[in-house]
């Protein structure tokens, strides 16, 4: 009942992982679901968890070394079990089937958690509701995982699962595609779902509680001829994404006033300008679902939920964690979440499901003193809003020059979906909300 520990696909696009740190030593007793190591993916540092019980007999990858997804990197087995064959086979092709080692659990095993004699690469469960965008192109997790036993003649590539496993997965908001099946023919059974739940992947799902039937999350609109023509002509003109930019300057006096008044109530009521902008953008998007969309090549997907991507600069790049259902959240929730997400983004601790699934994005360089800039659309989204710095300026109001706090925003629009007037109407709504921030509590 040895368990192979392999480099798992810990992000949707991960092809190899660098082992940052082993958290268990050879000889340590390992429980199912325990963290074995920290692994750096292309996006973040993730935890690699045990998918079986026993003793960590052998570590096959040194810290700081990288291994392709599927490569054997450790073996968990009984203290006296012969693992020579397994260890000598290390370094074989990635994702070699684990079948030969999947012997039955010993007769003394505790049945509630029968040692899961599996080590197949299995991607962590990730949100796959309809609100998730199509995964980025390269290296999707190799789901569904290969069956543990040699696939039997019938059934072919169809994923098998027991009725109970399906029910448990749905109750836990778990995508069975991401669960490795240890039953005959790769059937996903109760213990597999329990292991997936125990590994913590499910608990972390921010939107799990909000799962609604797929059909309610978005509406697909087939491309009309005019949209096809616009898409084709404009792409020819400017590149794969025919982008245009709309800039507007908002008056921020009332926002500043509101923020000051709230802060005066006590530290717990402090929110940043950015929090207020996020709240306003979320609200505006809910009123303009035609901007809250994905371009899918042959159709446009309009979302009924607003998942706001928030670009965060990190040491060697940037990442866009998502505030799910931003339109539904109170400002205090957005404030807390954005702070938390930004912090963990900088620590590279974000889970894949926390940075996928956005329907629109916001990028703010105001804190760097940038007056105005154009942000690049993150496809398949069709718009991104670039937020500039807040500054005091002389402006003419009612015929007289006055000093006002002002902020410039620039919206990048994918012209295949968002026409100029549409983008302008969206910014009009955003202006009304930001210049009259009480509307945000309406």
């Amino acid at each position: 009942m040895a368990t192979k520990v392999v480099m798992e696909a810990l992000s949707p696009t991960m092809e190899e992982g660098r082992l940052v740190k082993w958290l268990k030593n050879e000889g340590d007793q390992i429980k199912n679901g325990e963290t074995l190591a920290e692994v750096e993916t292309d996006k973040a540092i993730m935890e690699l968890v045990a998918r079986g019980e026993g003793v960590l007999r052998k570590r096959l990858l040194n810290e700081n070394d990288a291994a392709p997804v599927g490569q054997l990197i450790a073996v968990i087995a009984a203290p006296d079990e012969n693992i020579d064959a397994l260890v000598s086979g290390a370094g074989d092709g990635a994702a070699a089937p684990a079948a030969p080692t999947t012997t039955s659990a010993a007769s003394t095993s505790v049945p509630r958690s029968p040692a899961q004699a599996q080590g197949e690469a299995s991607a962590p469960p990730q949100e796959k509701t309809a609100s998730a965008p199509p995964a980025p192109p390269a290296g999707r997790p190799a789901a569904p995982p290969a069956p543990s036993a040699a696939p039997s003649g019938n059934g072919g590539g169809r994923m098998r699962s027991s009725p109970l496993a399906r029910r448990m997965a749905s109750e836990n908001g778990l995508d069975l595609q991401a669960v490795h099946g240890s039953g005959p023919g790769g059937r996903i059974i109760k213990r597999d779902v329990e292991a997936a739940v125990a590994s913590g992947a499910v608990r972390q799902q921010p939107a799990a509680a909000r799962l609604v039937p797929a059909g309610e999350d978005f509406r697909d609109a087939p491309l009309t001829q005019i949209r096809k023509t616009i898409a084709r002509r404009l792409s020819e003109s400017i590149g794969p994404i025919p982008t245009f930019y709309l800039t507007a300057e908002f008056d921020m006096e009332r926002v500043a006033e509101m923020r000051g008044a709230m802060a005066a109530m006590g530290d717990e009521f402090k929110v940043s300008f950015n929090d207020i902008v996020l709240k306003a953008v979320g609200t505006a998007l809910a009123q303009h679902p035609e901007v809250n969309a994905h371009w899918l090549g042959d159709k446009i997907r309009y979302f009924n939920r607003v998942h706001l991507g928030m670009a965060v600069a990190i040491e060697d790049g940037l990442i866009t964690p998502v505030i799910f259902d931003a339109d539904q959240k109170r400002m205090s929730e957005i404030s807390r979440e954005s702070r938390e997400l930004a912090k963990r983004a900088r620590e590279r601790k974000l889970k894949p499901e926390e940075y996928t699934g956005s329907t629109f994005s916001v990028s703010n360089l105001g804190m760097f003193g940038i007056d105005q800039f154009t942000a690049i659309i993150n496809p398949p989204e069709v718009g991104i809003l670039a937020i500039g710095a807040l500054e005091e300026k002389p402006v003419v109001i009612d015929g007289a020059v006055a000093t006002r706090k002002r902020m410039r925003v620039t919206m990048s629009c994918d012209h295949r979906v968002v026409d100029g007037a549409l983008g302008a109407r969206f910014l009009q709504t955003l202006r009304r909300l930001i210049e009259n921030p009480l509307m945000l509590v309406y």
Binding site: A105, P111, P114, P163, L164, A165, G183, K190, R191
Partner: protein, 327 residues
């Protein structure tokens, strides 16, 4: 609480019910002077006399029919078949007269009678005398069928059967007559018809069974327990009407079921149990239900072949491991 044999438990039930109601009488081959082929009726002739403990010729169809007639005019006959293998000769009276009389008389004649005797295989009695008939009998609307596995249930169910106003089939076991169990002395033992009992409580799988196989299931449960596997043993006790709640409650808890019976697989009682499980517990199942039963052959005489053909604890243990994906 005293420990008595299954045989004595049945004897107590007969005696108590004959005392309680003088319309109750016992009739069959060798029940009186010989005191019963398996001594179940020991002492009854002496106690109740030859009007109420009646020896018959070897004419199963005849005395079963006399019993139906007696029931129609208000008596409460108990018909003993020396074994259920011989009851085949009387099947027309059981199926066509006793079971259907209430229906065909438009409710005018209910048939308060009991057909009882040993059912299933003993040891090396060969093909014609080693058969479990419950699926035949339970197939018939109008019959109630009970199959006690312990002395307590034997006493309690036979008493309920005698008091029931419809024909009740009591399936005993030749190999059970000498088994012992606790039966309280100073209180009335009644086991309601249609009520299963959880004979062992566990969490990992459910063994659903009845009659003699309850003992096999408990043996298997003991062996599994030593390996850390704890099973529910659901003793149906009554095959018809079946206690569906007891089955579904257990399977919903454990998510895995093994159905164990003494008879053949095809159209067996287990098939009905599996049907209830798939109807009521589809979303609770983690594995296909496995059935354990006699091999699909006439019972061999040779000792080794007979052993191979019969369901036993080892086969049950293997089935439990299979539904738990441990094999």
């Amino acid at each position: 609480m005293s420990v008595i044999t299954y045989r004595d438990a049945l004897n107590q039930a007969l005696r108590e019910e004959m005392h309680r109601d003088d319309r109750v009488f016992l009739m069959g081959e060798e029940v009186a002077v010989y005191q019963g082929a398996y001594k179940v009726s020991k002492g009854l002739l002496q106690e109740f006399g030859e009007m109420r403990v009646v020896d018959t010729p070897i004419t199963e169809l005849g005395f079963a029919g006399v019993g139906v007639g007696a029931a129609m005019v208000g008596l409460r006959p108990i018909i003993e078949f020396m074994t259920w293998n011989f009851a085949l000769l009387a099947i027309d009276q059981v199926v066509n007269s006793a079971a259907k009389m209430l229906y065909m008389s438009g409710g005018q004649y209910n048939i308060p009678m009991v057909f009882r005797g040993p059912n299933g295989a003993a040891l090396q009695l060969s093909a014609q005398h080693s058969q479990a008939w419950e699926s035949w009998l339970a197939h018939i609307p109008g019959l109630k069928v009970v199959a006690p596995g312990t002395p307590y249930d034997a006493k309690g169910l036979l008493k309920s059967a005698i008091r029931d106003d419809d024909p009740v089939i009591v399936l005993e076991g030749e190999m059970l007559y000498n088994t012992k169990g606790e039966v309280p002395e100073n209180e009335e033992v009644i086991v309601p018809i249609g009520k299963a009992e959880l004979k062992r409580e566990g969490e990992h799988a459910s063994i659903i069974t009845h009659g003699k196989m309850v003992l096999t299931a408990l043996q298997a449960a003991d062996q599994l327990g030593k390996q850390g596997i704890n099973v529910d043993v659901v003793d149906l006790r009554t095959i018809r009407p079946m206690d569906i709640d007891a089955i579904t409650t257990s399977v919903r808890k454990t998510n895995r079921a093994v159905v164990l019976e003494e008879g053949w697989e095809f159209c067996g009682v287990g098939a009905q149990v599996v049907d209830y499980i798939q109807r009521e517990c589809f979303d609770d199942l983690d594995a296909p239900v496995v059935r354990i039963h006699q091999a699909d052959v006439p019972m061999p005489y040779a000792k080794n072949l007979e052993r191979a053909a019969k369901p036993d604890a080892a086969k049950t243990v293997a089935a439990v491991k299979k539904v738990m994906y441990l094999e």
